[in-house]
């Protein structure tokens, strides 16, 4: 490589998904990707900068337009081998018909390594062989990437067989399904094409890894912030004896729900930005539970804990229900109800079951003097529902490749399926206990315990995100 910053040029036939591969690799959804061939007409540079210093650069190029003529010219060339590409470019730069071919070969002439992308779902053709031969003649270090765009894997063996003749390394990469792990694997493959670049690529990979970790941590912070904000939220309205108390309660409930939904949307937006999905609005699957309103019956049916799990969680957090009664009793009960709250919570959860969704039970109205207050939330299920929705949403974001532009993923929730589909119902007792303690500390405004449980909950969420980012089911 002759340039100070190593360059990798993504080359190939038009419409093989070069831009998609790069878009996913660079996590840049602003790259123009289109099913119509020839979307990329100009060379676009993707510098990888770490702490302000450019380490490597990827270059997206237009596809070959005249592979046979190019190969014929090169085969007829009899000048010095290292001048092959400059000579070709000099001979064709004024011909508009060869504009794309000159553009794509210019970075290679400047010493770039080659990442040759093909669509592995189609058969191998002579045109491809011509392109491979051109790249072989350039002498550039080369990696072949089989972009398996569709599900068709019939031709993969043919591609592998042909690639083995021409390339230093081969990697199968699905640009519309690739997640973090596949991105790292692709970068790892680059080491094989030029050993001199290994230390540099190691550094890039380790930086990508710590950046990814940091994003998980930040996401966990955002989710925790949402939980603290929402579960502690309360809103009050004045209510004189002649006012319609029910109407006021309804209005307050609506305000409460609007606030929570707004906060949830804000968190989702921040998570999307964090994972660099900024341009194209990734779409949730049709009938996805995430499309449902936070307070819809369906959300509460499919997400959160099961009744049995709720009983256990309610036993821990139930004291807060009693605290409300103590408050209503003007403190004269001296916390008797708080002490009983554990049993009340458990029993209430057991017998009322889904009725807890009822906003009055969920939010806990407090009527005192001339005002009505709604919130803070009393039902711990809200915490698990919020957690589930955040984690499922983040899983979608994490596993939505940046080069992906289709929205035909399968639904997460089938209509007839009535089992819990969230993440939290699969947690073990210890994890759920941390959630209960967090909920309880929040209710009691116990700063110390809240800080401790927040830390543990944060660790749990980060751990969960790591698992989700390796899960291919999204």
């Amino acid at each position: 490589m002759t340039t100070s910053v190593p360059i990798f040029a993504i080359v190939g036939h038009p419409n093989e998904g070069k831009s998609s591969v790069l878009s996913t690799l660079a996590e840049d959804d602003s790259v123009r990707v289109s099913p119509i061939p020839g979307e990329t007409t100009e060379v676009q540079s993707f510098p990888v900068t770490i702490d302000g210093r450019e380490i490597i650069r990827f270059v997206d190029t237009p596809g070959f337009q005249n592979p046979r003529q190019t190969l014929a010219w090169m085969q007829a060339y009899n000048g010095p081998a290292n001048q092959l590409l400059p000579a070709f470019i000099a001979a064709h730069r004024d011909d508009p018909g060869f504009r794309d071919d000159c553009s794509l070969l210019t970075p290679v002439a400047q010493g770039a390594g080659v990442i040759f992308v093909v669509d592995g779902s189609r058969p191998l053709r002579n045109m491809d062989k011509a392109e491979m031969e051109i790249l072989r003649l350039t002498g550039a270090p080369r990696l072949a990437v089989i972009n398996s765009k569709g599900e068709d894997s019939r031709y993969l063996d043919d591609w592998h067989a042909e690639f083995r003749k021409h390339f230093n390394a081969i990697r199968v990469f699905n640009s519309s399904r690739a997640n973090y792990a596949q991105r790292i694997e692709l970068l790892e493959s680059l080491k094989a094409i030029d050993q001199q670049l290994e230390p540099l690529l190691k550094m890039v990979i380790s930086t990508f890894q710590s950046d990814w970790q940091a994003r998980h941590q930040q996401t966990a912070e955002l989710i925790l912030e949402l939980l603290r904000d929402v579960l502690d939220y309360r809103t009050t309205a004045s209510c004189s004896p002649k006012d319609d108390e029910i109407a006021i309660k309804m209005k307050l409930t609506q305000n409460y729900m609007d606030y929570v939904s707004h906060k949830e949307q804000q968190t989702r937006k921040a998570i999307r930005t964090l994972y660099k999905h900024t341009i194209f609005d990734l779409e949730l699957a049709p009938h996805s539970i995430l499309e449902e309103d936070l307070f819809s019956d369906k959300t509460w049916e499919f997400l959160g804990l099961t009744d049995k799990q709720l009983v256990l969680a309610g036993a821990i957090s139930g004291a807060t229900i009693g605290a409300g009664i103590d408050l209503a009793a003007g403190g004269i009960s001296f916390g008797v109800f708080s002490a009983l709250g554990g049993f009340l919570g458990a029993a209430g959860t057991l017998f009322k079951g889904k009725d807890l969704l009822n906003s009055f039970e969920l939010l806990g109205f407090q009527v005192g003097g001339e005002s009505i207050q709604v919130g803070p939330a009393r039902n711990i299920q809200l915490l698990f529902i919020l957690l589930d929705r955040c984690l499922l949403f983040t899983a979608q974001v994490i596993n939505w490749a940046h080069g992906r532009r289709d929205y035909d993923q399968k639904a997460l929730i089938e209509e007839a399926d009535s089992e819990k589909k969230g993440v939290t119902s699969g947690w073990d007792n210890d994890d759920r206990k941390v959630c209960s303690q967090f909920f309880q500390a929040l209710q009691k405004q116990d700063t110390d315990t809240l800080e401790k449980t927040s830390k543990r909950l944060h660790e749990m969420i980060v751990r969960q995100l790591q698992q989700l980012s390796e899960d291919r089911s999204f």
Binding site: S30, E42, V48, D51, P67, D94, C102, N126, A214
Partner: protein, 522 residues
């Protein structure tokens, strides 16, 4: 090694965290990450060294302080330091004066009635001892019950006073600042409240230390006054009591009290013996008859020792203990709150950018293409078609298979096939072969079989243009598109999107006699 964080450091860190909160609440910490990462990068440390959060916080604080110093802005830590130093000096001096004044007024001797040792002892030693025991009992209770803050009204009041003084100084320091900076510093009051929640214990130790400092000042004042009075005036000490205390009992009590220093001084110096006690007993009704010279001067070493051992020394020990507790509290500060964790993440995570840069302009501007070689124009008058079959389909797709699909072109027979697109076949050779075949077979036009899923690249359209030039402007020229072959069928229908792409591309050739159609219909 953990760098020691001081209370002002913690105050500043909490203040600076508070300043960052609005930006964090917006959900985008890009700017903070950039700032904190550049602080870390400037230290030349590497993540591989695995610095502790405390070390990172220390580095971060130093950098952030420099930034504030450049703008000549006070930070709460500095104000706290000044407040506590000022309070310490003030309290110490005041206590020194009070101790000195109280001792001076008590040690007044006009040559008639000796100074009452019992009163002096009770006021300056016994009361202090009681306070000391109370203090120790409180601390013992606290450690057993694990109560977070010393449950003392005095500490609470002193702590509150210190906070008030700090806040008031803070307000004064703001006078010359701009409105926005004043708002910044107002956050300190808020952060102080939060600080007390998080670091409750730590914030009360300065109050404890101040109290011990005041106690030390008081005892020093008493001690110095006592020494001065003894040195420069003539004082007689006596003891009195209404209680029926025997001389022997008192002598034993005094001996016990003086035990801590008795071993240090000669026997008759450390404390008064039985004879001196008898010789210093004041019985007002009897006047000074019982007093002896040896008796009335025997008490002052005892009083000095008492003040030193039971007054000053415990205060100094508590002062040291308080400082140790504060230091150890600071040393063991976990630095693992959410804000510290976020700071660690921001400092240690490299800033990665992989987004696209501006596009590089194309190499060549719009220029005239290089002149194409003039092809011989043929005059096609016969019938039948020349079918160009791709090399890859040649074996699987004989002309017989194609014939039924090409019937609708209505150009009669025969259909003559030529294989094209082999890797070793040059473009010129193909064109020559086509030209010869067209003439020899007296054919009417050309049909090119083309896989529609392959994009119509320039090479393909160029060939169509070459064929058009070869056969003349209006001779039949068609592109018959086929879909992706399946195992037992090489001729499949064309995907509508592929067909659309081919139609659009070939329309750009502006050839009205060029026919593009799918060979196989659904």
């Amino acid at each position: 090694m953990k760098p020691p964080l001081t209370l002002p450091d913690i105050l500043d860190i909490e203040f600076l965290f508070k300043r960052d909160e609005p930006r964090l609440e917006q959900g985008d910490d890009t700017e903070l990450r950039r700032r904190d990462r550049s602080i870390f990068v400037a230290t030349k440390l590497t993540s591989a060294a695995e610095p502790t959060t405390r070390e990172l916080a220390d580095l971060w604080l130093r950098a952030r302080r420099q930034e504030y110093q450049r703008q000549q802005l006070p930070l709460p830590g500095q104000i706290w330091r000044e407040t506590t130093t000022f309070s310490a000096v003030l309290l110490f001096l005041l206590s020194l004066l009070i101790g000195s004044g109280m001792a001076a007024s008590f040690l007044r001797y006009d040559g008639t009635t000796p100074v009452n040792v019992s009163g002096f002892f009770a006021l300056f030693i016994l009361v202090q001892l009681l306070l000391l025991f109370l203090n120790l009992a409180l601390l013992g209770y606290r450690s057993v019950r694990r109560i977070k803050a010393p449950q003392s009204v005095l500490y609470a009041l002193l702590g509150q006073g210190l906070s008030n003084l700090f806040t008031s100084l803070l307000k004064r320091s703001q006078k010359h600042l701009t409105a926005s900076r004043r708002l910044d510093l107002q956050a300190v009051s808020g952060s102080l409240r939060q600080f007390r929640q998080v670091y409750g214990n730590l914030l009360l130790w300065p109050a404890f230390i101040l109290l011990q400092l005041a106690g030390s000042g008081f005892n020093l004042g008493v001690l110095l006054t006592l020494l001065a009075k003894i040195s420069f005036t003539d004082i007689a000490f006596g003891w009195q009591s209404t209680l029926p205390l025997t001389d022997a009992f008192l002598a034993e009590l005094v001996r016990l009290i003086a035990l801590p220093w008795a071993w240090l001084l000669p026997y008759d110096w450390a404390y008064p013996g039985l004879e001196q006690i008898i010789g210093s007993k004041i019985v007002l009704i009897e006047g000074n008859l019982r007093l002896t010279s040896a008796g009335v001067v025997s008490w002052w070493p005892f009083l000095l020792g008492g003040i030193l051992v039971y007054g000053l020394l415990p205060r100094l020990l508590l002062l040291g203990w308080g400082s140790y507790q504060l230091h150890s509290g600071l040393k063991n500060l976990p630095c693992d709150s959410a804000a510290f964790r976020q700071l660690r993440r921001r400092m240690l995570t490299p800033l990665v950018h992989t987004e696209a840069q501006q596009q590089i302009p194309p190499l060549a501007a719009h220029q005239e293409p290089t002149p194409k070689p003039e092809l011989s124009k043929l005059s096609l008058t016969g019938s039948g078609l020349l079918v160009l079959i791709p090399d890859e389909l040649w074996d699987a797709c004989p002309i017989d298979l194609l014939t039924p699909h090409l019937g609708n072109l209505d150009k009669g027979s025969p259909l003559v096939a030529i294989r094209y697109g082999a890797i070793e076949q040059s473009g010129t050779a193909l064109l020559d072969q086509i030209s010869i075949t067209l003439e020899d077979q007296n054919l009417a036009g050309i049909v090119v079989i083309q896989e529609a899923w392959q994009p119509p690249i320039r090479e393909v359209t160029t060939r169509l243009e070459q064929l058009r030039r070869m056969i003349g402007a209006s001779a039949p020229l068609a592109v018959a598109l086929v879909g992706r072959p399946v195992a037992d069928n090489p001729l499949t229908p064309v995907h509508s999107q592929d067909l659309s792409i081919w139609l659009k591309t070939t329309q750009a050739l502006a050839d009205p006699y060029l026919d593009v159609f799918p060979l196989v219909r659904d």
